[in-house]
Amino acid sequence: MPNGHSQYVHYPLMAEISPLQESVAELVRDGDVVAMEGFTALIPFAAAHEIIRQGRRDLTLVRMTPDLVFDQLIGAGCARRLVFSWGGNPGVGSLHRFRDAVERSWPHPLELEEHSHAGMANRYAAGASGLPFAVMRGYVGTDLPERTPTIRPIACPFTGEALTAVAALRPDVAIVHAQRADRDGNVQLWGITGVQKEAVLAADRSLVTVEEVVDELDPRPGAIVLPGWTVTRVSVVPEGARPSYALGYYDRDNDAYRAWDAISRDREAFARWVEEVRA
């Protein structure tokens, strides 16, 4: 199967719990396809900052909403390619590092593979399902299929109806943030759960950063549990989703999202921000 996936991988029985630096060094390599999900909530910022510190290069970054987290990775020169569906600062405006890369090739050119949200969500679902593609109604009449080779028309084999196929996403590594894990590395997350489950199940390897490790995962309404044997590494990083949020732990820092605009807009201000992350 593509990407080294096997139907009969023998997973270790539990995820290994290790410090963030070790987890990122172990799982993220130059040139990897790296999905980092969390739809507005639970965005794995701390892990991204660790990738910047470790100076990873030529990554294909995959994320529905690049958000500040990919603006930072792109500006820091970690990315060669971006797979995405909506690249703005929600409610604020542009992601200026993303725009600088696309409009002026700074710090270097950025290849784009562009989808709609529905397309990206289906691509993850296909990857998690072990299928080569997903079928959906979408994109018809738009200019996106002309620009994006992973969107193709397909006929329903039963009725002949014209539908759209999107290629599965099969990241080398998926990184997500969750509220908590137990000591066996079973992960529990709740609130807006986005495509985190699909991203982890679609990927070869995965890292989940968590607010805390607890003895027992008592049930929470609407929570998703990723069994420890589906996760490669867990790292404990309290507040690891700031300035996004972790429901039950802290709120979204809307002021930080607004303040990012000025930092992102100016290459020097951004360079100072990177220095602080690396320090």
């Binding site: 739809f39 507005t40 909530a41 529905m64 909403t65 995405f84 569906s85 909506w86 690249g87 703005g88 929600p90 409610g91 604020v92 542009s94 992601l95 993303f98 725009r99 696309v102 409009e103 562009e114 989808h115 709609s116 949200h117 529905a118 969500a121 289906n122 993850y124 679902a125 959906m136 109604r137 979408g138 994109y139 018809v140 009449g141 738009t142 200019d143 996106l144 620009r147 109806e161 014209a162 609130g191 807006i192 759960t193 986005g194 495509v195 489950k197 699909e198 609407g222 949020y245 429901l247 709120d251 979204r252 809307n254 999202y257």
Partner: protein, 246 residues
């Protein structure tokens, strides 16, 4: 009262009580929340973050603020919100913004100028909009009117309105009716029933036809029974003030 207030109030009024509405962030979210606080308390707000029936007390900054999840009737994953809820036609009204819109109400939120590979301005991209525009029962667009935004042809078709004109939606197999109203800071445009061309059907009080024409990048047609929108009421304006984002 600002022109934006008039636009937001007019957009809120376009929503009917009991509608199920797929809400984009920014002006659409403000208008939909205003509607729920005024004439349409039974309006069901659906956000692409998976929040169904959200009832925020303050206006969210993003489509995924915690307030949306904690006040929702149900929270589902992103594949589910698009596949189970939007795609089969469970949503009455889609509410969209635009960077560019053309005379057939096609929307561009991708690139402006210079072509796709070397754009002058890189916009955020599609988000949920292409499928919202395709699959909702109908679509309302809210956008400030200017010659830069209202163009003869969009630089990139991110979301389809009426394509190149009558019959295109049917030909493309798009299930929803498409954009039924474009609400701006100057007035309201609606597709002509024969030609699908966006036509000025109402002006906000105090705005002239010439102003609307000057803010439109094509030869704007004006409905013979051109109306005037009712000025926002004190209650509507007060509700709008209370909605100020956190």
């Amino acid at each position: 009262m600002t022109p934006d207030d008039r636009m937001t109030v007019a957009a809120a009024r376009a929503l009917r009580d009991g509608d199920v509405c797929f809400v984009g962030i920014g002006l659409p979210s403000t208008a939909a929340n205003l509607a729920r606080r005024t004439h349409a308390p039974g309006l069901v707000l659906v956000y692409e973050s998976g929040c169904i029936g959200a009832k925020p007390t303050r206006l969210p900054l993003s489509i995924g603020d915690g307030e949306l999840a904690t006040t929702a009737d149900a929270v589902v994953g992103v594949p589910e919100i698009f596949n189970y809820w939007l795609q089969p036609g469970r949503i009455d009204v889609g509410f969209l913004g635009a960077a560019q819109i053309d005379r057939f109400a096609n929307i561009n939120t991708t690139v402006i100028g210079g072509g796709y590979d070397a754009p002058k301005v890189r916009l955020p991209g599609a988000g949920g909009a292409p499928e919202i525009a395709a699959s909702c029962g109908e679509v309302i667009v809210i956008v400030r009117q200017s010659p830069r935004a209202f163009v003869e042809r969009v630089d990139f078709v991110t979301s389809v309105g009426y394509g190149a004109g009558p019959g295109d939606r049917e030909r493309l197999g798009l299930p929803g009716r498409g954009p039924v109203k474009v609400i701006t800071d100057l007035g309201v445009l609606e597709p002509d029933p024969e030609t699908c061309e966006l036509t000025l059907t109402a002006l906000h009080d105090g705005v002239s036809v010439d102003e609307a024409r000057a803010a439109t990048g094509w030869e704007l047609r004006v409905a013979s029974d051109l109306g005037v929108t009712l000025a926002p009421s004190d209650a509507e304006l007060a509700a709008l003030r209370e909605l100020a984002p956190v």
